[in-house]
């Protein structure tokens, strides 16, 4: 890749201690397990995957909102994970989070102008006049009217509240914005407004997004590259076209085939890849491939040997023993 990445994550792991009664040994749940990815400046990386696969946890670690256990995360040249004190405060300004729920993430007792200004108060040293100007500009950028600044969150619709959340995230002129299911709670019509807004702001301010969503249509529309997670691991990673046109991991194929399509009314998706059963217990992971118990092409070897990421071209990799082999034809995407 020619672009230098704005965000570069290497071998990141995040673990949570599991409380067990008695004096037993401490044990840990590895919510994110040895994950690496990069996002070039001005681009969007999507993270998709099963509920509980570690998407939010990985993003929280990058934003220093949960402690990482191992690994490196760099924002430009700066090491994110080692920052403390004033350096950490400066770093926080450059990374902002937009959450799923516009209702609970806004303080109901504050006027929305103050909500949007708050990060400026705590993370910057700007004058009152400068802050006022920034807030005015932000309201305009996200499509809210100036007189609405004096209102409280409950006086806005869900979509408008999400706009306020976006304005607030933009206040410190961050370089990286993490959108965690940022449009999932919105109706489709309002969702389209917000997605267009996010892309316009990206072009306008050169923003870089880490975009977490369970909606593959939205991810396909928004993202330049995509990482697919399963049980704490990235199982496949590729540029937008390769991932959707030529997915290589059985889980990715199952995921894409499960999405109901509008273009063939009256029939279920063709070539649906069924993955019955549940994912394994994250507290007690099996050896080998974590997907083996549900994988339609798994062979005995899969539950013994862990598959490592294998490259398919320069911008595509998948962690499966059968990448690029005939075994994948059984769950082909061909028409």
């Amino acid at each position: 890749m020619t672009d230098t990445p704005l965000l570069s994550v290497e071998n990141l792991s995040v673990r949570f201690e599991i409380k067990r009664g008695g004096w037993g040994k401490k044990s840990y749940l590895y919510a994110v397990d040895d994950v690496s990815f990069q996002v070039p400046k001005g681009q969007t990386l999507g993270i998709v995957g099963e509920s509980g696969s570690g998407k939010t946890t990985a993003a929280l670690a990058v934003a220093r909102l949960v402690p990482a256990h191992q690994g490196v995360a760099r924002l430009g040249e700066d090491d994110i994970l080692s920052k403390e004190g004033e350096d950490l405060r400066r770093m926080r300004r450059r990374v902002q989070f937009i959450f799923q729920d516009p209702y609970s993430s806004l303080n109901p007792r504050k006027r929305v102008a103050d909500i949007v200004r708050e990060p400026l108060d705590s993370l910057s040293d700007k004058s009152e006049a400068e802050k006022k100007k920034i807030v005015d500009d932000l309201f305009e950028a996200v499509g809210l009217r100036p007189e609405q600044q004096r209102l409280f969150p409950h006086q806005f619709s869900g979509g408008q509240r999400q706009r306020i959340g976006i304005a607030r995230a933009l206040a410190t002129q961050p370089e990286l914005i993490i959108c965690d299911e940022a449009v999932s709670a919105l109706d489709v019509a309002v969702q389209a407004q917000i997605l267009n807004l996010l892309r316009r702001l990206q072009a306008q301010f050169g923003l870089t997004y880490l975009f977490i969503s369970h909606d593959l249509g939205v991810v396909q529309h928004m993202c330049d590259s995509i990482a697919v997670m399963y049980m704490g691991k990235i199982v496949e990673q590729a540029d937008r076209l390769s991932l959707f046109n030529n997915p290589q991991h059985p889980y990715t194929r199952a995921l894409l085939s499960a999405v109901p399509r509008v273009d063939h009314p009256g029939q279920p998706s063709r070539n649906r890849v069924l993955i019955p059963g549940d994912p394994p217990d994250p507290n007690n992971l099996p050896p080998g491939c974590r997907f083996a118990s549900r994988c339609p092409i798994a062979k005995p070897d899969c539950s013994q040997r862990e598959p490592l990421p294998q490259s398919i071209g320069t911008t595509h990799s998948a962690a499966c023993h059968y990448v690029g082999t005939d075994a994948l034809d059984a769950i082909g995407m061909a028409d």
Partner: protein
């Protein structure tokens, strides 16, 4: 005669702001063995329609003001509470979005399903339990004998939703109403639940009313659909026909504002189509005008002057829009 016929149904909600028609002059029918889908944005009255069919409108707040709901010829709007309870137990059942709210946390799922069977089919304790295990098997929960003894919290979200479906099927309903049954689930699990519903319908001939906000789900599951907007029907008709050529601007907006997965993806990424604005608030629902007018790209003075009439097209497609022919 259709299995279910809803005629000019009007449901009024009394809130602090006064009384408003949350369902306003809604007519539709449901044939035996058919799947009919309701779509529309949040607050348009989809769940309220379902609750009305079940005789479960919020007490003291909601009431059926006029119209008829004929199930097998019997008008449910005139039925006694006892009769409605009987119908809910035997003929029409519902699965809700969040299974935890409808499963009882202190009983095993086997006990809960068996209880339904004992109450409605008068089975003995042992027979009810055996049948419960069969139903758990039918909804494809692995190891049904063992899992029947599990409490809801011991199951995954997808399994709980399947347990809910098993319970809803326990009385062999003629109509199964599914209100956003997969919204909280992963797409891979959603696909399994949809496959399951389709198979069950094929085996039992149960009619399904599927409420969803996902046009893809509608396309995959239903023969006919009703698009609701602000308590009114915007459009009704065969799914494929509406997706190919919607006659109501709101339907067109709903279909084209969503970034659908493409079969073959290209570099091309145009801006998404936007429907500006939001759904009007409940207190504006009853007004004599097109309630979509403030958001519509095709609006004329006529649209603001009176509620649009039904315009019928071939194949049973109906659109409530002044300019439907021109769309």
């Amino acid at each position: 005669m259709a299995l279910l016929e809803v005629e000019n149904l009007r449901i009024e909600l009394s809130t602090r702001d006064g009384t408003a028609p949350v369902i306003d002059d809604l007519s539709f029918h449901l044939d035996a063995g058919e799947t009919l889908s309701f779509v529309g944005e949040s607050g348009c009255g989809k769940s309220m329609t379902a609750l009305a069919l079940m005789g479960l409108l919020p007490e003291r707040i909601g009431r059926i003001a006029s119209g008829a709901i004929r199930f097998d010829g019997e008008d449910l709007t005139k039925a006694s509470p006892a009769r409605l309870r009987e119908i809910r137990g035997n003929d029409i059942s519902m699965i809700f979005q969040e299974p935890m709210t409808s499963l009882n946390p202190v009983f095993t799922i086997g006990e809960q399903i068996a209880e339904v069977l004992r109450a409605h089919q008068g089975l003995s304790r042992q027979a009810a339990w055996d049948h419960a295990v069969e139903l758990i098997d039918a909804v494809r929960i692995p190891n049904p004998k063992g899992r029947a003894g599990d409490y809801p919290f011991q199951m995954s979200g997808g399994q709980r939703q399947r347990a809910m479906i098993a319970m809803a099927l326990a009385c062999k309903p003629k109509i199964l109403i599914a209100d956003e049954p997969t919204t909280a689930l992963d797409v891979t699990v959603q696909a399994q639940i949809f496959d399951l519903l389709r198979d069950l319908r094929a085996q039992t001939g149960t009619s399904i009313i599927l409420i969803t906000h996902d046009m893809g789900a509608v396309a995959e599951m239903a023969e006919r659909m009703i698009v609701m907007y602000a308590g009114r029907k915007a459009e009704l008709g065969p799914v494929a026909q509406i997706i190919n050529h919607a006659r109501h601007p709101y339907t067109q907006g709903l279909i084209s504002c969503v970034p659908h997965l493409h079969d073959v993806l290209t570099e091309d990424r145009p801006e998404l189509f936007e429907v500006p604005g939001i759904v009007p608030s409940l207190r504006d629902f009853g007004r004599d005008e097109c309630l979509f007018a403030s958001r519509c790209a095709h609006v004329t003075d006529q649209c603001r002057s009176a509620r649009p009439p039904e315009k019928s097209f071939e194949g049973g497609q109906i659109a409530d829009c002044w300019h439907a022919e021109a769309m």
